[in-house]
């Protein structure tokens, strides 16, 4: 009987802990939004972070996008050809990328590369008292350190997503047309018939923006609230990657259900 009670208490505490965390993150988001005026007055702060967060993630996104496209092309062709529909490979690759794989994979890659870097950087600044120093110099760390990184993430990820999708489609093209002999004209026209700009591409971009807000928020929050020791920072970095992955996948399910129901 006692263990059942302990079990219930444990679950209850886990749930309340998660709710408290959710509340804290929402409050943090609101603080960031309120402190974002400095980002408008000093755009260089944001531009600098877009370089570190976005530009330096280009390599992994470009390479992954291309390879995902190549592999998708190969796999899809194999299955489609069994029904004599090999020509439709372009359509399948494009839809899969633009609707799902682009937003989700680019968000996951982004959180592991850029998200963890941001968490580590902010955590270390906290551990070496740099954030305290800023406060004592009458400068709000949220405005000067956190908000620019948050906005840079929100700007960078959707851009990375479209680059990922474009490269994926190109990879699919390389495999299907150059390697497997699908006719180029058929490849593109089948794709164009099936992919709708507003329904597919724009919805994919909207998903990506929502993921960008989530992933950037998690990264800066974990860094800011990290325990100020080496171990604390390392734990926070791991949490950023894991929590981002879970949140992205859960949000993806919810958004897909809303956006892509039979129409």
């Amino acid at each position: 009987m006692k263990t059942i009670l302990q079990g219930v208490e444990f679950i209850g505490r886990q749930v309340t802990d998660r709710l408290i965390l959710l509340g804290a993150i929402c409050r943090f988001l609101i603080s960031i939004l309120l402190m974002s005026a400095m980002c408008l007055r000093r755009p260089w702060l944001v531009v600098r972070e877009v370089y570190f967060i976005g530009v330096l993630s280009l390599l992994i996104i470009v390479v992954s996008g291309l390879f995902v496209g190549l592999v998708l092309g190969l796999q899809m062709y194999d299955t489609l050809e069994r029904f004599g529909s090999g020509d439709g490979v372009g359509m399948v690759v494009a839809l899969a990328l633009v609707r799902e794989l682009g937003p989700v994979l680019s968000a996951l890659l982004f959180s592991s590369r850029a998200g963890s870097a941001v968490t580590a950087e902010i955590g270390l600044m906290k551990a070496t008292e740099q954030l305290n120093a800023l406060e004592m110099m009458a400068i709000q760390p949220l405005a000067r350190v956190i908000a620019p990184r948050f906005w840079a993430g929100v700007i960078s990820l959707p851009l990375l997503n479209v680059i990922f999708c474009a490269l994926g489609v190109f990879g699919g093209y390389l495999v299907a047309v150059q390697l497997l002999g699908v006719d180029a004209g058929t490849f593109w026209s089948q794709m164009q018939n099936a992919v709708d700009f507003r329904q597919d591409v724009v919805n994919g971009i909207i998903k990506s923006v929502i993921f960008a807000v989530a992933v950037s928020l998690i990264a800066v929050y974990e860094g800011y609230s990290a325990v100020a020791t080496a171990e604390g920072v390392s734990r926070a970095t791991t949490r950023t990657v894991v929590v981002s992955a879970l949140v992205v996948l859960a949000l993806d399910f919810v958004l897909t259900a809303f956006m892509f129901r039979g129409f």
Partner: protein, 160 residues
């Protein structure tokens, strides 16, 4: 770390992103949702629309001339009222007929418009008089079965 270099890279990144969007818009997706070509709306009643959906194409002679914009059940006659936006460039006579056609055997359904002989043309808000509804596979099979049964019993009667 040089400001100019950073600005250059960030500019390149954003330009690359925009190029990707343009690529996706033009090469990958179809253009129909943006061509906000001026159009006029007509209506048609069908006893059964089958699998016709919103934004299904309206074709004449195989060419897309418009899109389905609304599907409602009209409770005065319990028929489906389908509203379509037709491209201003194409005019159809008032005795044109609309039918719901399936592309291929099991493909998507669309509205096929066959032009009539009258001189007067359909205007915005007009209703197409001549319609024929979607062929439902189950009904076809049912009819086939019934025909088969009738002809078999007819043959048997003949043989007697």
């Amino acid at each position: 770390m040089n400001r100019t270099l950073v600005d250059l890279w960030v500019g390149f990144f954003v330009a690359l992103g925009m190029a990707a969007v343009v690529f996706l818009a033009l090469k990958v997706a179809n253009q129909s949702s943006f061509r906000a070509a001026p159009s006029y709306e007509v209506h048609a009643y069908f006893t059964n629309i089958g699998g016709l959906k919103m934004r299904s194409p309206v074709k004449s002679a195989g060419v897309v001339v418009g899109r389905v914009t609304d599907i409602q059940l009209d409770t005065s006659n319990y028929q489906a009222k389908v509203s379509m936006a037709l491209d201003n460039r194409y005019e159809f006579s008032v005795d044109s007929s609309a039918s719901i056609i399936t592309s291929g055997l099991l493909g998507e359904q669309y509205v096929g418009l066959d032009v009539g002989a009258e001189e007067d043309m359909l205007k915005a808000g007009d209703t197409i008089e001549f319609t024929s509804s979607a062929l439902l596979l189950e009904k076809l099979i049912g009819e086939f079965g019934l025909n088969k049964a009738t002809s078999t019993s007819a043959e048997e009667t003949n043989h007697e």
